[in-house]
């Protein structure tokens, strides 16, 4: 499929998902109320600490929201289609199912990003925490790339949902470990050594490092670009793995008739 058509499908799926999110007022709970509670708890815990703990707490909460949203909702992308009864219609089109799910996955990550923005705003204006971001441009670039990396990781999990909704148990169980291992809340150096290989194959681990670097250093450093570069490579590898898995699970589900089973 030509790249232009692929991007069109991804955008169209992204747009439809955003329209659905906006039509459903429930998004207020995970994206405004939950971040408020999280920020309140985190800032209370770090109240007496010195250093950039406020920023760490806020970024950690934001990442948690972005990752949680993406992991849950990427899997939910297939479930959503099954509930609506639209999965067969979508599969019957010549578009690749992975491109459709990719659009939904990015929309979920963007929604997760609103979670992070909500945390930043609540921390700054309600709790009066000074969140000095040294290099706002690179900070923004790192966040967007991390968002795409998280979406690509979500795609891998989404492929499992083509086969069975039992995959929900799998992704629910992975949400918190990945959040910890990727160093969202505290640096991975604090974790046991044996967990480091897992951390280093997770794109968000490098993304969070880059975000923290951009937040703390005004001048562009080699470390920042190294982190971003590794994250991009890992993300591309995720996309390749997801494409392979989607092809295999779609073929299997067409053979076993499991594509539209609830």
């Amino acid at each position: 499929m030509p790249l232009r058509q692929t991007l069109r499908v991804v955008y169209s799926a992204f747009r439809l998902a955003m329209l659905h999110w906006l039509a459903d007022p429930q998004w207020v709970i995970p994206n405004v109320i939950a971040p408020f509670v999280f920020t309140f708890v985190a800032l209370t815990l770090f109240k007496e600490a010195s250093g950039p703990f406020g920023l760490y707490a806020v970024l950690g909460g934001g990442m948690m929201g972005m990752w949680g949203n993406t992991l849950y909702a990427s899997g939910f992308a297939i479930e959503f289609e099954k509930w609506q009864g639209t999965l067969e219609e979508v599969v019957a089109t010549p578009s690749n199912l992975m491109h459709v799910v990719a659009g939904r996955s990015v929309s979920n990550a963007v929604f997760g990003l609103t979670n992070m923005v909500a945390i930043l705003l609540i921390a700054s204006f309600v709790f009066r925490v000074h969140l000095g971001v040294a290099n706002p441009v690179l900070f923004g670039v790192a966040i967007v790339l991390t968002l795409l990396s998280v979406s690509a990781l979500g795609l891998i999990f989404a492929s499992a949902f083509v086969l069975s909704r039992s995959a929900q148990v799998f992704t629910n169980g992975l949400e918190f470990p990945i959040y910890v291992v990727s160093g969202s809340m505290f640096p991975i150096a604090l974790l046991p050594f044996w967990t480091h290989p897992v951390s280093y194959v997770l794109g968000p681990t490098w993304g969070i490092e880059a975000i923290r670097t951009a937040a703390g250093q005004a001048n562009v450093s080699f470390t920042f670009f190294q982190d971003v570069g590794v994250m991009v490579l890992i993300t591309l590898a995720y996309v390749a793995v997801a494409a392979f898995l989607f092809k295999k699970v779609e073929e299997k589900s067409r053979r076993d008739g499991t594509l539209v089973q609830a």
Partner: protein, 341 residues
């Protein structure tokens, strides 16, 4: 029992672009797991040795009871299922190998209350599928409008689909099935659950599509619908095609019989079972759900059986009893009852 009123098996075998559909000995077997602690796998044969051809510009009907294999056959032809054995060509393309080419050229209308994005409006539903089918952006919005106008939905096109009636949703299904201007449209029970007026409207739209040069394969439970719309009908039972002919050809199969139709009250399954034991009775169908119950008995004996009917229904109230010419539905019942279901 295989009844090929008009055998088409000789037509199958030559694959070309001259036919809209060529299905050759299609089979689909599912492995189903049973049990919770001790899971056992069993093989379920959903479709066995199904062969037929559909010509361009034809409305071809696939009829049969629930679980007969109609939907599985459609899913194999629309590339959503891979046949266990056999092969099929849609618009000249192999459904197993040329998946994208087949999908680009066909429309699928599965119908029903579901299958639409109900939180968004009809235009967004249509645009989304136009993008998925790769409809050129230069024609997309014009086509969306034309189709919604054709289906009489343009006035409400900006309202959320969740506010639509059943009939409107069905028309939106049809409009979406046409978004890629397909040559061939698969419709799975397009009028199920619709009130008679809307069902009639839907049938009229289906006829208009054929006038515009489309080919349609539809499944239905309603024999009068198949009779009214289809040039040829295949009756499928237990995964096998047991008859394939024009509606009048199928009716000829029951020409030697007549139908005793009884309208009454108090008729139970016990009476229906007793009729099935009568040697002169070829098939029995009964609608016992309503206050006015209807019993249809197919028999070659005609009026000679009336005294026996009255004897069996002795304890029931009979409002009306008449002898009628058999319809396509009677032919269908006789064909599907051959299984002993």
């Amino acid at each position: 029992m295989h009844l090929w009123v008009s055998d088409v098996s000789s037509e199958v075998g030559e694959v070309s672009f001259d036919r809209a559909i060529v299905a050759e000995h299609l089979c689909k077997v599912f492995n189903v797991s049973k049990g919770t602690l001790r899971r056992r796998k069993t093989r379920v044969v959903a479709v066995k040795d199904v062969s037929f051809v559909v010509d361009y510009g034809e409305i071809f009907g696939l009829v049969g009871p629930n679980g007969a294999g109609k939907t599985t056959t459609i899913k194999m032809l629309t590339t959503m299922l891979i046949p266990t054995s056999g092969r099929a060509f849609v618009l000249g393309y192999d459904v197993g190998r040329d998946v994208t080419r087949v999908r680009e050229r066909i429309g699928v209308v599965l119908g029903g209350e579901r299958g639409l994005y109900t939180r968004v409006n009809a235009i967004d539903n249509m645009r989304y599928f136009a993008d998925l089918y790769g409809v050129p952006t230069s024609v997309r919005d014009r086509r969306v409008r034309e189709l919604l106008e054709f289906m009489g939905l343009w006035e409400r096109a900006r309202d959320r689909v969740e506010t639509y009636s059943k009939g409107m949703k069905q028309r939106l299904h049809l409009a979406r099935g046409l978004i890629n201007d397909p040559q061939l449209i698969f419709m799975d029970e397009p009028t199920i659950g619709l009130d008679p007026e809307i069902a009639k409207e839907t049938r009229s739209m289906i006829r208009q599509l054929v006038e515009k040069g489309k080919t349609i394969l539809l499944t239905t439970h309603y024999m009068f619908e198949a009779d009214e719309l289809c040039r040829r009908v295949a009756v499928i039972r237990n995964g096998e095609i047991v008859a394939l002919d024009t509606p009048s050809g199928l009716k000829r199969y029951v020409m030697d019989t007549s139908v005793v139709e009884v309208e009454g009250f108090g008729i139970t399954e016990a009476e229906v079972a007793r009729f099935k034991e009568v040697s002169e009775v070829l098939a029995v169908s009964a609608d016992l759900s309503e206050n006015k119950q209807i019993l249809k008995i197919q028999t070659p004996k005609g009026s000679e059986i009336i005294s026996e009917v009255q004897e069996i229904l002795k304890g029931c109230r009979i409002y009306d009893l008449k002898i009628k010419e058999p319809t396509l539905e009677d032919a269908y019942l006789r064909l599907v009852e051959g299984s002993g279901e």
